[in-house]
Amino acid sequence: MLIGIILLVLIAGCSSSSPAGKNPANITPVPTQSGPCMDKACFIAAANDCRDLNVTISEDTGTFTYSSSGACIFTKTLVSLNASESRQIRNVLEGKNMTCMYTRGKFDPRLVTSLVGGIEYCRGDLKDGLARLVIFT
C-alpha cells in the first residue's frame, strides 16, 4: 500500500506544473496493477516491459516490495527484516526504499535477485543504507 502511494506521488510529482510543495491537491491518481504476477521472474519480465506492477515477496532476509511503472521507474522497498536482525540494522533499512530509472528492455534483474547488484544507478535511503553497511561484509 505504502509503495503504491509513493509511486502515485512520484508520477504525480512529475506532472506538477508549479512548485506548490507538499500539496496533495496536485496529485493525480495513477492506476496500479496487481494480479497473479506475484513472483520474481514474472515481476522482472513486467519491469523490463515497463508495466505498472507492485509485488510484495517474503524472502530469507526479509520482506520486500518491488514496483515498476509505465515510466520505467523501479522502486524497491525493504518492508521488514527478519526479527533476528539487530534493532540498529532494522532502523537503518526497514521502511526504506530506492528508485531506479532505466530504459525499456534493459531492466537489470539483479535489482530483484540480489541485495546489491545493479544498485549503482539507483537513489534513495535504501541504497544509501546498503552502501554503508557493505563495509561490514
Binding site: G13, S18, G21, D60, I73, I89, V92, R123, A131, I135
Partner: protein, 356 residues
Amino acid sequence: MLRSARGFLIILAFFIVPVAADASASPWSWNKYAGTSQWDVTITEDESYCGGGITTNRVSLSINHDFSNAKMGNVGHGEAPGTFISNNILHMPSRPVSETTGSSTLSAYDIYFTTDCSAFAGKYSWVYHGEGGYTCRGSTALSGVNSKGCPGVKEIPSVAPGVTPSVATQIASARKDLNSDLILRDLHEQVGNYATLIDRPGSGASAGEIADTKQLLTDITNDIQQREPPIEDKYNAILSTDPNNFWANWDMAELKKAQRNYPEYFRYTEKALANKNIAREKAEEVRKNIAGGLGISDFPTTQNSYFIKRMSTDADAIQSVYGIDAGKGEPDTEKLRIFAFWNQPYDAVNVVGLPK
C-alpha cells in the same frame, strides 16, 4: 520552475564565492571546540515528488558547539542536535518534525566540515506524512560558508610566495573545490532525472516547464564543465610528483565516477588501493565512522547478522559494476573497494578524510 532556475543561479553564485585559503599546519577539529559558529547557509529543497519543485533559500545560521555535541539552528525543520563522529563530521540522527499540516520524518545524515572552517555541506532526505494517508518524499541539501575562519585561530596564508605547498595542503585545496563540484554533480543528476520524468507523453508538464528544466540542466552542465578542468589540474599536479598518492588517486576516482567515466574510475581506485597500509587503515576508520553514525555499538558481521552474510555473498558474486567487469580486489582492501562502488562520490571522498 523559473523559481528553481533562479534558485539555482544563487547556488552557482555560492559555489563561485572564493573561500578562505587553507590555513594551518594542524587541521581544525570541530569536536574539540565549545562555543558558537556563524554560517551563511544555502538550503536547496527538492519537493519534486511532493507536487513542488527544487527551491533554494539562504539563511544565517548559528551552530552551538559543546565539544562532541552540537546543536544546529533552524534550517526549516527546527533546531537539530547532533554528535561529532569524527573531528569534522557531525552526525544528525533521524527525527520526526511537525509540519503546518501533518508531519515529516527526517533521515539521519552527516555534515562534513572543511578543516579550514570555511565551509560545510550535508544533505538529508525526508518523508512527508499528510492528511488522508498522503505520503511523499524529498530532500534538503545544506551548504554553509564562514568567512571568519576557525574560531580563535588567525588566518595563516596557505603558502608563502615562491614556496611549494605541501602535498597535504594541495590535497586539502583540491578537495575543497571537489566537494563543491560533487554537490553540483548530485544536483545535476536530480534535475536530469526530473527532466526525464516530465519530458514524456502524459507527464502533464507544460512546454514552458520542460524548457525551463532543460535550460537549468544546460546551465548546470556548463558550470560543471568550467569547474572540473582546474580541479583535475590540481590533482594531476599532485600526481605528477607523487603518482601513488592515496588521496589524490581516491579523489580522482570519485570525480571520474561522478563524470560516469567508469574505466578511469576503476583505474584510479586501483592506484589508490595499491597503498595497502593506508587502505587498511581507512577501511577500519570507515567501519568505525559508519558504526558510530548508525548508532551501532557492536560491528555487524557475517557471523552475527544473516542480512550482512547475504550482502557479503551477493557482493562477492558481483561480476560487473557500472557495466564494467569489476574483477576482484586484494583481500586486505576489497571491502573499501566495494564500499566505494555504491556510495555517492561526495560521501566516498569525505569518508576517507585528508592526509595529516
